[in-house]
Symmetry: C2
Amino acid sequence: MSEDVDGPDPARVETVELVLELSHAMTVNLLVAARDHGLSPPQARAVLGMTAPAPMRDLAEHLACDKSHVTGLVDGLESLGLVARQPDPRDRRIRQLVLTDAGRTLRDTLRVRLYAQAPAIGNLTGAEEEQLRQLLRRALHPTC
Amino acid sequence: MSEDVDGPDPARVETVELVLELSHAMTVNLLVAARDHGLSPPQARAVLGMTAPAPMRDLAEHLACDKSHVTGLVDGLESLGLVARQPDPRDRRIRQLVLTDAGRTLRDTLRVRLYAQAPAIGNLTGAEEEQLRQLLRRALHPTC
DNA sequence: TATTGTTATACTCTATAACTATA
DNA sequence: TATAGTTATAGAGTATAACAATA
């Protein structure tokens, strides 16, 4: 006789859905820009993650993927003229990855797109965004 | 002579990163539960999206994928005993998809995991979660 | 002629394992 | 012996196109 009602709290459902919706919009916004520049989603994440010169192993760790996958990824970025493999004089097994000038320019473009031009956030006032940031900080990192 | 500083506002960067971090944690939390029940990520999204009986075409739309992809997806769910294809007496081209009892149970389990057991949100007070919800609502749907 | 769903095929993303060249 | 990177291969996930049945 018991009805099968009483699912999750509707307010909580809305909270979760809003977080997922915002995250999805941010991701799509970034990936559209990436595609317009000829980058696949994993290539875009790679370029965004490259700051200082680093061994390919580090990029695999950043992307949370196997090192074997990085080879082809970097092949593509290299043929686009965005990345270069440089020898490491201290350890000849290592290839130091560096962004070219074009790569740095594109990385900065993608950063602007991901952050400065993030969707929806611009609809908040500075104070509201600060509030949002503090709530998220408290939720995710309660010890801080 | 100009330094290449002045990237995006660090506060904005933190806001965006926190949103992505929370969304990622929610997604991982859901997908771990799904995998524990033998579901791949797309299968989990399918089960979560099934409420009323609906043609396969609707599921393709919900998943934002081609209809040809839904065939194999539903084959898997059917062989797991979670979903059944039922004829539509009004239009014999259509297969109405319905969750079995086991499918409904699993869907409810996944809903609890995604919503009630969402990570991080539980660290907020009810009032804080309400604040968060309102900020996200205002950012994403400013007209409401 | 248009639509639902299936099949056949291919492409992208990613992993595992075997290999090389160093260390 | 262990590590950095590559190659070969295989498995998901997904798309396009051609098709069958029905409208």
